[in-house]
């Protein structure tokens, strides 16, 4: 069966890409919340926040990008849930196709959809005054981190997509993920936070990823921080992938 893995994944990817291109509104909707946060923080709270950088929007953008991904992946869970509900999933399972192709198609579609959303958010940020002197290498670094982060969260989203009983259940899991950046260095420097909150903020994945992206945007030396960020993403990716695959095997058994 595995000899057809790439062909089957490509065929199914074509299918789910059509789903997102035929409902571009879902991609736009996922960008509304992060853009609102960006507007709110830059134009309302921003003046009172001592970020220690010249441009608050530039300071803020990395965290907003992560929020974009966190809200975008709930659509992956949603689309997967709809497939499970309709008979199409069983049709695929009863056909001689590579078993995991069905999931990979959803995951890759999620990656494409999130990259489009991220591009929309970056364009809005540019309009709001975001500037970066980063060169090609640094931008590729940012892209790489975001791709890893998206894949990790997408595999996480696969689990509720496969197991949820209701549509709300399938997408609700992403709410805590959306708020994780608030307890990080995404909006304000962590050294203003009280002890325990600060300890949490400084040691959770979002902070290391945000700091790494910020350093890449502002051409600061990334130091060892980027390895912590990559380790978080890869670690999360591996764990989420393993859980998602075992959930999938149980569901189709």
């Amino acid at each position: 069966m595995t000899r057809h893995f790439f062909g089957d994944t490509t065929a199914l990817l074509g299918r789910s890409l059509r789903h997102i291109t035929r409902s571009m509104d879902t991609i736009i909707t996922t960008t509304v919340m992060p853009i609102m946060f960006m507007l709110l923080f830059v134009y309302v709270f921003g003046g009172a926040i001592q970020s220690g950088s010249d441009s608050y929007v530039t300071y803020l953008l990395p965290g907003i990008l992560l929020i974009t991904v966190a809200s975008g992946i709930s659509y992956t869970a949603y689309r997967l849930f709809l497939d499970m509900q309709s008979g199409i999933f069983e049709r695929f399972q009863s056909m001689p196709i590579a078993r995991s192709a069905v999931l990979w198609a959803h995951v890759l579609t999620s990656l494409v959809a999130n990259l489009i959303s991220l591009a929309v958010v970056v364009v809005v940020a540019l309009i709001m005054g975001f500037r970066s002197s980063a060169g090609i290498g640094a931008w590729l670094g940012v892209l790489g981190l975001l791709v890893l982060f998206t894949l990790a969260l997408t595999w996480l989203a696969v689990i509720p997509g496969l197991t949820a009983k209701t549509i709300d259940g399938a997408s609700a899991f992403s709410y805590p993920l959306v708020f994780l950046p608030f307890l990080s260095s995404a909006f304000v420097p962590t050294d203003t936070m009280p002890g325990p909150v600060r300890a949490f903020a400084e040691n959770q994945p979002v902070t290391s990823i945000v700091n790494a992206i910020r350093d890449l945007f502002t051409q600061q030396p990334v130091g060892s921080g980027i390895w912590v960020a990559i380790a978080w993403c890869v670690g999360l990716l591996v764990v989420a992938y393993a859980f998602a695959m075992s959930t999938y095997r149980r569901r189709i058994a």
Binding site: A11, L12, R15, S23, G87, E90, S94, M95, P96
Partner: protein, 248 residues
């Protein structure tokens, strides 16, 4: 071609199948009859590797469903009880997708041929979400025919179809069997079984209570009395005459 022995399946405390046995010969049409909740869908899901049986064995095309599910999937095609079509794609795209997943050459041509065969050519370029129930069902069945698998499972293929569409589906099923495909269909319509099936089995309270040809089944009851009645057209004849389609 299909061989089911002592098959058992329970959902928690509910014993749905309590030892089901039957065999289906190559190239024949086998109808599984049963009332709502009898377990017809459960049998079909086990045979199409979507569900594991608790006990007993089942083989399709010489492969065991539990031990060689991948080989079974290469031999079958399933039309489930509820249309398994992609609403957002067009009819043509649905067909082409299945052709691609079956690793066939020229998916576009396969799609066009089937659209034509199931009178869906005009609707082929529209999203399936805009289809009527009958069009969806026809598309669903068309998707199952792609790749000419030797065994086809049809779970209540004509439920919800209008009489014309039913006859079209019957015609398609007959053609399949004529080409040597083995067909297992479930139905609640007795006339459907009468019209199509070479053998009929009735699933009741978890077991097959009778299994035979139509003639054999009829002999279970007292011989027919000869009665003289005026032959009235059936409602079906009236309907088909009025909508201007004759039985093909």
């Amino acid at each position: 071609m299909i061989r089911v022995q002592a098959l058992e399946k329970s959902y928690k405390d509910l014993k749905v199948l309590r030892g089901v046995d039957f065999e289906v010969a190559r190239g024949s049409i086998f109808a599984l009859l049963g009332s709502n909740g009898a377990g017809k869908t459960t049998v079909v899901r086990i045979l199409s590797t979507l569900l594991k049986a608790d006990a007993g064995s089942a083989g399709v095309n010489g492969f065991d469903v539990a031990a060689q599910p991948a080989r079974v999937r290469e031999s079958i095609s399933l039309t489930g009880q509820f249309a398994a079509v992609d609403e957002i794609l067009t009819g043509r795209e649905n067909l082409a997708l299945v052709a691609r997943l079956r690793h066939l050459k020229d998916p576009g041509k396969i799609a066009d041929d089937l659209l034509d065969r199931f009178s869906l050519t005009d609707a082929g370029g529209r999203k399936v979400a805009t289809y009527s129930g009958g069009m969806r069902r026809r598309l669903d069945i068309a998707m199952s025919l792609i790749g000419d698998p030797p065994v086809i499972f049809l779970d209540e293929p004509t439920t919800g179809l209008d009489p014309e569409a039913r006859i079209e589906v019957w015609q398609a099923v007959r053609e399949l069997a004529a080409r040597g495909t083995t067909v297992l269909l479930t139905t609640q319509y007795l006339d459907e079984a009468e019209q199509l099936a070479d053998r009929i089995a009735i699933l009741h309270e978890g077991r097959i209570i009778v299994n035979g040809t139509l003639t054999e089944l009829k002999q279970l009851l007292p011989p027919a009395k000869v009665e003289y009645v005026e032959k009235q057209p059936t409602l079906e004849d009236v309907f088909l005459t009025l909508v201007g389609k004759d039985k093909r």
